[in-house]
Amino acid sequence: MSIISLKFLLLVICLLFIYYIIPQKYRWIILLLGSIVFYYLSSSKLIIFICLSIISIFIIGLKLTKYNEQIKALDKEQKDLKNKYQKKKKRILLFGIVLNILFIIFTKYYNFTISNINIITGIFNIKPLEQTKTLILPLGISYYTLEAISYIVDIYRGKYSASKNPFKVALFLLYFPKITEGPISRFDELSKEFFTPKKIDFNSITIGLDLIVLGLFKKMVIADRAGIYVNNVFGEGLGGSTVIVAIILYTLQIYAEFSGCIDIVRGVSYLFNIKLPLNFKSPFFAKDVQEFWRRWHISLGAWIKEYVFYPISLSKMNMKVVMFAKKHFNNYFYKFISAAFPLLFVWLVNGIWHGASYKYIFYGMYYYIFMMIGLLIEPLSSKIRTKLKINVHIINVIHIIRTIIIVIFGMALFRSTSIAEFFNLIGSIFTKGSGIYEYGIIKIDFIILIIGTIILLLIDTLSEFNKINIEEGFTKKVIIRSLIYTILICSIVILGIYGEGYDASSFIYGAF
């Protein structure tokens, strides 16, 4: 079930009605039931996989909490017992992480895993394993697996205790608006939203509607229009300006679509007076790649930072690397190596999370390389800036443009079907183009896209400079809000890409 379908709308209306007529303390049960219905209608029997994840992290969470309490109860002198419990805790945690990773390996990453195993077994002339023709893809498995891991790791770290109610854990993973495309949430954040009794808040409902209408506009008017051109050009062996426009439009498409989807997801949650974390914060104002990833898919970056970067940075292995660098290199390289080692894992995880192929690993490495180059040349570029006394605003603009260019090519890699296709695409830029009006959209569509882009940039610019805060709604004035709604709704109906033969359910990030 797509989140921009009439079925979804009906489900939300029904749930809202029931949600607000029952006592506050039971409202989360309606969300859980709605989430089960949504998941079952979207993935039918594959709901079993998310159930297995829920059961596993519920039991493991309880075990970890039990050990946490036992450790707490120990005297300072009982170090041996403490270490014993710590080891047991670690083993349970590892088991939980591995188990949940295995679920995703045997579903989404099955063929990728098999092909890699075959490469290794091929060396020893062992008969290759067969790949499956139809991959099992439980809805949102990439998202809820990260959430499941965060739940048990947080309990392991003593951030909070495990929930004693398996249905509350179930709601955390299953919550229907976010299951398709995130944002990747944490149990402690969401449990405050789900399980704290809340009154009906009409202001929250209004903000929710603002986000939903804006999200639909982004998806149906901008993203899907850009998508027509992109689909007609990518992989077709075209060149020059035709390809350059496709690459730029793909970045526009994915931004409008992903941020639009998140707007809808967060908007629907606001209707239930539930606030989900932000996932985008004016990403095209980033001055470097690191900053871009702090503004783009924020919840993924935050998860990787919390559960990959920190553990690796504090690991014994990294300590050894850091010590080695300190001993053998000067301060400049020491700092560089200290960051480079854990970041390598960060970008490997980022890449592999996005998809089951080497292209995605390369995608992660693409950003890693730019990040490392940035770190390496920073002292030099800093010196040049000081010497030339260039205005800081000009520098910022140059950095923003540089980052946008890197991101646009990164997105082209993301869209390409293979690494080879990406390089062919880049090469084709230097060949002759074949116009831009013959690939599914015409002049008026480009005008609509330009206006749409200006609207997106305007919202981002005003947000960046704190002139508006979408979290507080478009405006306080009824007439202005009504006019904005009318313009957006009529634009969606008149200019939206929908109708027979168009699959409204396909979101690019919905496949993860």
Binding site: L209, I444, V478, C490, V493, G496, G499
Partner: protein
């Protein structure tokens, strides 16, 4: 409470403004088909609503067999009563019923004739056929009932598009012309009164005794009986004569069909005019009077049928003669338009064959 009032006000204002804009844009975005040959269905629908209220004596209902087989202007010219083919291509009985109800909102006819040809078709017709009816129907309880009739099976978005056709035609933003604006809110009288005039001749070469008893048996589908019963009942209440008829069409006629309809008509005490049994009396020439080898009639065939059927109607029912009434002068104008169109059509056909 303040937030609640604000939210409700916002939703109400947005709803009203959006509906107004989408209604206007629906009118602009709907294809206009300036020439009736490109889309005669829209002309039939819009033309019906453009006829003065309570000005029609007879309404012919049915599918393409009617708009190719009945010529209201010939009937007017010969006998003086006014009529209109309020029909739809590939019509199904549930659409026929909604058009029947619709017709009674605007006209008080003395007779309604319903073509029996469609009674045997129960599968959904094409989207284009039904949408041209529902898209052009003004909003009313009848339209809501018709669009949401369980027998009319379409997706929710398609049904919604019948009320706001912008949902279907929104992609026309890149092909709008001045005419789309000019004809957006205009119901033009359709001078041919629901007729589709074609001069093309393609002879029917099948057996001439296609109405002979072959032993085959047919029964009317339940869905047809259901809607026919409703129409007959309503006509009784309104004191309107309800007749079943079938225009000559070797392709879609058989003895079995004739008997099935006749049995139903007899059981209800209504007249059934199976004109396929009267081909000789009508003077049908299957070499000249059909445009597609026996399925539909051309203008020569429809003229013969109209003269024959018109005579039957004036002989058996009290129908007024409006030919000298000033109020109906526009019918004379329309007849002149019809003659011009007829000449053009015949010449065009001659030029093609030359």
């Amino acid at each position: 409470m303040k937030d609640f009032i604000k939210l409700i006000s916002t939703l109400c204002i947005t709803f009203v403004l959006s509906i107004i804009i989408l209604f206007i844009s629906s009118k602009i975005f709907m294809p206009k088909w300036i020439d009736h040959r490109m889309n005669m269905m829209t002309f039939i629908m819009k033309g019906f609503y453009a006829e003065p209220k309570d000005s029609l004596d007879v309404i012919f209902m049915g599918n393409s067999d009617t708009y190719r087989g009945i010529d209201p202007l010939v009937m007017y010219h010969e006998y003086g009563f006014t009529s209109y083919n309020f029909v739809a291509a590939g019509q199904r009985i549930w659409t026929g019923y909604s058009m029947f109800e619709e017709s009674l909102k605007y006209q008080k006819p003395k007779i309604i004739l319903f073509n029996a040809d469609e009674l045997f078709f129960t599968k959904q017709t094409s989207y284009g056929n039904s949408s041209k009816v529902y898209d052009n129907m003004p909003l009313s309880i009848n339209k809501i009932n018709s669009v949401f009739d369980p027998n009319y099976k379409r997706s929710r978005i398609v049904k919604l598009a019948h009320f706001l056709p912008i949902f279907r035609y929104h992609s026309r933003y890149n092909e709008l012309t001045k005419d789309d604006l000019k004809y957006a809110f205009y119901n033009e009288r359709y001078a041919l009164k629901g007729m589709d005039m074609v001069a093309y001749q393609e002879p029917y070469t099948g057996p001439k005794d296609y109405m002979k008893d072959t032993g085959e048996k047919m029964t009317l589908p339940d869905v047809s009986i259901y809607y026919l019963d409703k129409m007959i009942e309503r006509c009784k209440q309104e004191n309107i004569e309800f007749l079943l008829y079938h225009t000559p069409s070797p392709d879609s006629s058989s003895y079995a069909r004739y008997i099935a309809v006749k049995e139903y008509a007899d059981s209800k005490g209504i007249i059934y005019l199976e004109l396929n049994n009267d081909n000789k009396k009508i003077g049908m020439d299957w070499n000249k009077d059909t445009s597609d080898g026996g399925d539909h009639l051309n203008l020569y065939g429809s003229e013969k049928v109209s003269k024959y059927l018109g005579k039957y109607l004036v002989d058996n029912y009290k129908l007024p003669d409006h030919r000298n009434e000033e109020k109906y002068n526009y019918w004379n104008d329309d007849y002149n338009t019809y003659l011009n169109e007829r000449e053009k059509e015949i010449n065009s056909e001659k030029n093609k064959s030359n």
